[in-house]
């Protein structure tokens, strides 16, 4: 029993890391641009395909592939900001509807390009790590390790650089940020690029574990939604707490009850939180 609990704990933390990467990117984009990005999951999917192309088609090392994925995603984000989202900066609802259109374009683009079938991703590492009775496949350990490194890197970027301060100022108040010399014309595309890059890296990291297909974006998007609603739109500490919580709830309910029960429980929780505290568990009470 204690073994099952420890195993669920590890799985929960891995899921939590994935959800956190998705949710932070999502909530960052909302915080900066006030856009609820329904296309966020498609960037996860694109990241996974980027990794597939890098590793299997181009034969690049995994680390180089990840780096390329980040660069490509930031550029893609800047492009999407310019072409799709820029006109809707002051209009939350239209921006959100536009993101629905963008999601359709990206998903069906991938469908035409790569076909509908799931594609296998070669294992990056094999074997398992043993800690007493506890078994962790090395592939999972690798994903978790890189994920944590990426999140720490993001944290440092956000908290300890000039760019990060600019982003945070923008999340607080656009006009004030502009007054203090934050350059909106650069920060918007880069902010969106960064949010999207987090999703893409998550996709590239999860690809070896879950495989790749044009349809893999839906589930992580859903999780990002849930995390962000539970944590409060635009709140990063809230997202961190909620992601970990969600990962653990899922991993434990699916070990001890059933997977569909986990889904229903989390969605009921989402509805309840939206009704009772629309600003999220850690929110500041404005909705």
């Amino acid at each position: 029993m204690s073994f099952l609990i420890a195993q669920s704990l590890i799985n929960g933390v891995i899921l939590g890391t994935l959800y956190l990467m998705m949710a932070i990117g999502f909530t960052l984009v909302f915080g900066i641009m006030r856009i609820v990005n329904f296309a966020h999951g498609e960037f996860y999917m694109i990241g996974a395909f980027m990794a597939l192309i890098g590793v299997t088609w181009l034969g690049l090392p995994y680390a180089a592939t990840l780096a390329l994925t980040v660069v490509f995603a930031v550029l893609l984000g800047a492009l999407v900001e310019r072409v799709v989202f820029r006109p809707f900066r002051s209009d939350e609802l239209s921006g959100m509807i536009a993101s629905l259109g963008l999601a359709m374009i990206l998903q069906n683009g991938a469908l035409i390009f790569f076909g509908p079938d799931p594609q296998a991703f070669p294992a990056m590492v094999s074997g398992v790590l043993r800690f007493g009775d506890l078994i962790i496949p090395k592939s999972r350990a690798l994903t978790l390790g890189i994920g944590v490194v990426v999140l720490i890197g993001f944290y440092v970027l956000l908290m300890h650089t000039r760019f990060g301060r600019g982003l945070r100022a923008l999340v607080q108040d656009q006009q004030v940020a502009a007054l203090y010399g934050v350059r909106l014309e650069i920060m918007y595309p880069l902010g969106l690029g960064l949010g999207i890059a987090l999703a893409a890296v998550a996709g590239a990291l999860m690809a070896p574990l879950f495989g790749v297909s044009p349809f893999i974006g839906a589930a992580p998007l859903l999780k990002a939604f849930i995390v962000v609603i539970l944590g409060g739109l635009g709140s990063i500490p809230g997202a961190a707490l909620a992601a970990l919580l969600l990962g653990l709830i899922e991993s434990f309910t699916s070990s001890f009850v059933s997977a569909s029960a986990a889904d229903i429980v989390t969605f009921a929780l989402v509805v309840a939180v939206l009704l009772i505290r629309p600003s999220g568990i850690l929110g500041r009470g404005e909705a």
């Binding site: 609820v36 799709v84 006109p87 809707f88 939350e92 609802l93 239209s94 959100m96 509807i97 536009a98 629905l100 259109g101 963008l102 999601a103 359709m104 374009i105 998903q107 069906n108 683009g109 469908l111 035409i112 859903l222 939604f225 609603i229 739109l233 569909s260 889904d263 229903i264 969605f267 009921a268 989402v270 509805v271 939206l274 009704l275 629309p278 909705a287």
Partner: protein, 324 residues
Amino acid sequence: MSDTSVTSPPKRAGLGSLGFALCVALLALVPWFTGSVFHFHIAIMVCLGAMAAAGLATIAWVGQLSLAHGAFVGIGAYTCVLLVTRLDMPFLVGLPAAAVFSGAVAYIIGTPLLRLRGVYFVLITFALNELFRLVMLEFPSVSGGSSGIAGIPKISLFGWELRDQSQVYVFTLLMLAAVMALLWTIRRGPLGRWFSAVEENMALAESSGIPTARTQNMAFVIGSGIAGFTGAIMAHYIGFISPVTFAFQLSVSYVIILVVGGRLALAGPLVGALFLVPLPEFLRSAQEYQHIIYGVVLIIVLRFLPAGLTALPGKLSQWRRSGE
């Protein structure tokens, strides 16, 4: 220009809407000219799309965008199908029951839900649509589970079964006309004035004596009732439903029809459905691009015609005038 201002209808707009009505009537007759069963099918789907989107429009008229509309279509579809197949009720009992039951569900959840506005309302309706799908999948004895309910009997009126596509089309067209007539009446009357007031300026509406919460809830109940009504006809026409039929994708397709047609105009849902539902048929050679085209059309309309295609004639004459 809104058609609510009965007090001051500019003459040009009157002529314009007459022309529009003529165009729609001619388009409605197309399947009889070609005689093709397939064209009848497309025409029925246009009617069903327009009808559901009209329900969504009613909710949009008080300033809310629902992503749970597909679920309400589903509630209506299941209500009618279960009444007809399990309790042997006639379709003509199941159809109004579907509308009433969907409306009742909307009434119950509407009061707490509608306190949320803007993207928060969108998010909670999105979550509810997912919840509907998940819960329905959990109860296969009711919903048929992931394999759904197949072999649903055809629409029958007083024992007369509508076997032909053309018969179904006439029925659906009449039902659509009835729904549009209802919405036209609402918009001209006091309730429509309240809707627009709430949509435009909630605080001012409230302090002008308009019960804003009740007004929003009425729009939600009417719109969701229309969704359920559509669902019942849809289920008995297509003959198959499952919880997945009424998932997120269906809700999104109604949002696209509405936004492309025009969120606030009465004719918006009609124009949106007329434009988008047959579109893939004209692009049959490029069918795989269908969803990409939908996405592109949606973004372009949002960007350049935020009031939808119904605003196009006005925009054109505006451009022509400024060009002179």
